[in-house]
Amino acid sequence: MKSVHFSALLTALALTNMSCEKVIDLELDTAEASTVIEGKLEASATEFQLAISQTSAYFSPALPVPVYGAEVNLRDNQGNVWPMTELSNGTYQAELTPEIGQTYSLEVFVLDETYRASSSLLPAVELMAVDYEYQPGNGILGEGYVVSLLFEDDGSTKNYYQIKHSINGEDQNNADDLLLYDDNLFNGNEVSLPITGKSFNPGDTLEIHLIHMDGPSFEYLSTLSDIVGSPGGPNGAVAAPSNPLSNWTNGALGFFTCQSASTQVIVLP
């Protein structure tokens, strides 16, 4: 929603043809390195991986540096423990069959600090259908198919969703592809949610996932979506950016999430 207003502003400015963009040299302070812990437990997977890394200076063009030597334990509500083994590339792994309805928690001991997080694995919400409609295109969206997901929301609880998709085998993972919804506006309804801001070409094979997650995971991802991508600066979409609301204790960045998904594959004519 916020980005609509910002793009409306930009469109008006582009129209007046007087604005300009340029790359500038900006000197930024670098904060002390913080620990980043990220893990996604998927209902359909047989193993679970956790990545631990550190923050680096903003203008340093490098991939994240993994942190080795952490002690990680995964637990469920029933007292089961899976100590996680460190792989050669610095990620930590456990083999398990995730059980719907469990709350999983992690305890990570790394660089003399302990971090804890937990998340609930909720049942998948069935993706009833994937609809598509050909649009001739307008100034903002090029011509092509607009795709929507049809499903029914459970009116008795508050639900949180994410829509992910891949085109011809390629996962779409830009900041703009982070599509998140809570059921505030459609609680209990049968709803058709579009993949916004995108049109697809005839012949594309799309793999569409409707992901169901818990509240804290959604909070993290939606506060994350406020700060990734282009908007920035005092007149951008978010004036006072801050770090996403993580479910880790003790100030770790990143998050731990349990997710279940319902998937469909379609080929556009």
Partner: protein
């Protein structure tokens, strides 16, 4: 804080009554009979009331008065014949010898005839007006003076003019909102003929909603506001519309590249009743449809319409009805649209009860709404938000004697807020929602006195007592410290949900050190019950207003200002140096991760804290001669401290602009041609930039540590303007205004965003977006005499 306020008010009340007793005592002791002369001051050519003109008895030391905002004056002198001078800047002084042997009425017309001004002009200047007018921290703008200063768009825009004043900082390019002395953007009370205007800005802040042709002028109070004003914590911008020429019909207007305007005014009954009607519109949408293609079914325009009519029943009664209606519309085909607008209406009755008592009764309506839509019909959604105010106010001015002018009154405002209604088409799968409407009463009663304590010391002191109650029908929510809902309780219509009572003492002192210098002190304590929640700097119309409630306390400000004012060469040069300290409480901001849209429980996502601002303002003006202008410099700081933001540590407010420089220069080349230029420089806004980076889910994520610890690049630009008056004509004047905004094309940063580099996808670069360079404006202005 409450005991402090109570103490102040007790001492205020004590000194007020002590003052009254002293006066009464001295007038009894004097035992001389006095009589009162009162009446209306009007412009001889147009019939417009002349506010704040000086009426002086030159033979008696330190005796004088000023006409009120409606042009009414009252002066009481001892029995006998006395000389009186009626003085108003830009007008020929009128001298009368009056025999004060009974109470009399004298209406005076003053002429601004330019020929006569050339010679006697110096005498017509209110003698050292800066040093004699009481209020410090007050800037008066007369629309006649601003016509020559070029601003963006080539129109005399009062909101832009006000930003030349030190202590008033523009919110930024693309916004006509402003900050006064470190206060928030919602802390300015913007009044048009007593009606509150919630959003004074048109599209992207390029133009304000105020059409200069319909305005008489404005008073901007940055501090020491008299008790008659309240409702916003940092400033009062009191704008008045013209009443309309009551002598003959005239028209004026202008045509420019981006917009056009037309004003029609004249008598309905000569000297008794007049009207003024004024309209303005941009034609950017006509340009769009000419451009064709995708843009041809889009819209981008705004319009303003002002109308006022007045009728003088007899010399003691006058009725006014005025209104403003304006709208902005921005839409792209059927895909999305934004439209918003203000509408205000004022019905006012001026009644002169006797030669010393003037009454003003007003009924004011104010409506601000915005609507934003995506898609059309069954596939579309529209969100609408509305604020509606109904205000009843009563003011009395009592001219007790020539040393005391009392004002007292009250007002009652009923607020209705519809924070967000959603209208969703059937195909969207979304349900219609009507956010709960919220209702509140904002009431105040005030008493103030302007008193000449000694020949050199003038004081304006008063007390405003304000009260706010949120009333039903509505729901009262309580939250825990983390913003989770604890309880919710429903209330019936009219039942009280929350209420607040605030005491707001005001004081302003003026000590005339000598004929040319004055020391001024101002103190005000102000309460604010309506708050603007904003997540971005410029006042986008989608910002939300909320009212005080059990969760949201009123914003309070205490401000102290002290200044030295000087004039040279009988008013040709003016200097002032003023320092202020302001502390603010109950400032609100969003919690991290707050859900901004359609959030019934938004109050749980708000945090409150304190603010502090201080600074020194320097202003030098040359007011007459071929070359005139002003130089203003402010050094100031503005901080916030809110638990839950920045780990509870103090941080710079966005508007913590340490240096702010503004230079305006006007040069009268010859009779017909004048040149103007202005230069603006200010420190960049305090902003939060990343201090590190990491990856989540394959996406690059910036790391943020301290809030507002970094700076945007400094802002500076130079504008030029040229005004060429048309040939002299009996019935008609015309001029061409040509201007260039941002002459040397400085690319001032509107926003800085961080994007992946083209060369290396792992690398990020800072990309700056700047708005306006070398923007020309050409306007043809005309006026029938």
């Amino acid at each position: 804080m409450d005991t402090f306020a109570a103490e102040i008010t007790l001492s205020m009340r004590f000194s007020f009554f002590a003052g009254l007793l002293f006066l009464m005592g001295s007038s009894i002791a004097g035992a001389q009979e006095s009589f009162t002369l009162s009446g209306q001051l009007r412009d001889a050519d147009t019939g417009e009331d002349l506010p704040f003109a000086a009426i002086v008895a030159p033979d008696i030391e330190a005796v004088g008065t000023t006409s009120n905002v409606y042009g009414f004056y009252s002066i009481t002198l001892p029995k006998g014949v006395h000389r009186l001078q009626f003085i108003n800047m830009g007008y020929v002084t009128v001298e009368e010898a009056i025999d004060f042997s009974q109470d009399q009425r004298l209406d005076v017309e003053m002429s601004s005839n330019i020929e006569m001004l050339e010679e006697a002009v110096v005498a017509s200047e209110k003698e050292n007006s800066t040093v004699t007018s009481n209020e410090g921290s007050l800037t008066t703008i007369d629309m006649k003076d601003v016509k020559k200063i070029t601003v963006f768009g080539g129109e005399p825009d009062i909101m832009k003019i006000v930003q030349f004043d030190p202590g008033v900082k523009p919110a930024g390019e693309g916004s006509s909102g402003f900050y006064v002395r470190g206060g928030g953007i919602d802390q300015n009370l913007i009044l048009l003929d007593e009606a509150v205007v919630y959003n004074p800005s048109h599209l992207l802040g390029l133009f304000s909603v105020f059409n200069g042709d319909a305005l008489k002028g404005a008073n901007l109070y940055k501090g020491g506001m008299p008790a008659e004003f309240g409702g916003r914590a940092s400033s009062v911008m009191d704008m008045r519309m013209k009443d309309g020429n009551s002598k003959h019909l005239t028209a004026s207007g202008g045509l420019g590249i981006l917009s056009g305007r037309l004003t029609l005014e004249g008598p309905l009954v000569k000297d008794k009743s007049s009207f003024i009607v004024s309209g303005r519109r941009t034609w950017t949408d006509l340009l769009l449809s000419a451009a064709g293609g995708d843009w041809s079914t889009s819209s981008l325009f705004f319009y303003d319409f002002n109308a006022k009519v007045n009728y003088r029943f007899n010399e003691n009664n006058r009725l006014f009805a005025s209104g403003y209606f304006g709208r902005d519309k921005f839409g792209f085909q059927d895909q999305f649209g934004l439209n918003w607008g203000n509408a205000t209406g004022t019905l006012r009755w001026n009644h002169i009860l006797n030669e010393r008592l003037f009454s003003n009764t007003s009924l004011v309506l104010s409506n601000y709404d915005y609507e934003f839509g995506l898609g059309m019909g069954e596939d579309g959604i529209a969100v609408q938000s509305v604020i509606r105010d109904v205000n009843v106010k009563q003011d009395f001015s009592y001219y007790l004697n020539n040393d005391n002018t009392l004002k007292l009154g009250f007002n009652v405002i009923h607020h209705t807020l519809e924070p967000g209604n959603l209208d969703a088409g059937n195909n969207t799968g979304l349900s219609n929602r009507e956010a709960d409407q919220k209702y509140g009463f904002e009431n105040a009663v005030y008493v103030q006195n302007q008193q000449q304590l000694t020949p050199k010391l003038n004081a304006n002191y008063g007390l405003r007592v304000s009260h706010f109650s949120q009333v039903g029908s509505g729901t009262k929510y309580t939250f825990d410290n983390d913003g989770n809902l604890l309880t919710s309780e429903d209330f019936e219509a009219g039942e009280r949900i929350a209420d607040y009572l605030q005491w707001e003492p005001r004081l302003s002192l003026n000590y005339a050190v000598n004929e040319m210098s004055a020391l001024k002190l101002g103190f005000n304590r102000s309460a604010q019950y309506m708050h603007l929640l904003t997540n971005a700097t410029s006042s986008t119309p989608t910002d939300t207003w909320i009212m005080s409630s059990n969760n949201v306390r009123p914003q309070m400000t205490n401000q102290l200002a002290l200044g030295l004012f000087n004039t040279l060469r009988s008013g040709t040069y003016e200097f002032s140096l003023e320092g202020y300290y302001k502390d603010m409480q109950n400032l609100i901001d969003y919690r991290n991760g707050a859900d901004v849209l359609f959030n019934e429980l938004i109050e749980g996502d708000l945090l409150s804290g304190n603010g502090e601002a201080y600074g020194i303002e320097f202003l030098a003006k040359k007011k007459r001669g071929r070359f005139s202008g002003q130089f203003g410099y402010t050094w100031s700081r503005s901080f916030r401290q809110i638990d839950g933001i920045n780990n509870g540590d103090k941080y710079s407010a966005r508007q913590d602009r340490i240096h702010d420089l503004n230079i305006v220069a006007l040069f009268q080349l010859n009779e017909r041609v004048s040149l103007s230029s202005n230069f603006v420089y200010y420190t960049g806004d305090a902003v939060t930039f990343p201090s590190g980076r990491y990856y989540v889910d394959g996406m690059l994520v910036p790391l943020y540590t301290a809030r507002n610890a970094e700076r945007m690049p400094d802002y500076h630009r130079l504008d030029f303007g040229l005004t060429i008056e048309g040939k002299e004509n009996e019935s008609y004047t015309s001029s061409w205004s040509i201007g260039i905004y941002n002459v040397y094309g400085r690319e001032n940063a509107f926003s800085i965003s961080f994007e992946p580099s083209d060369n290396d996808p792992l690398d990020t670069e800072a990309v700056q977006l700047s708005l306006f360079k070398y923007v020309p404006s050409i306007t043809y202005n005309f006026a029938f005499k």
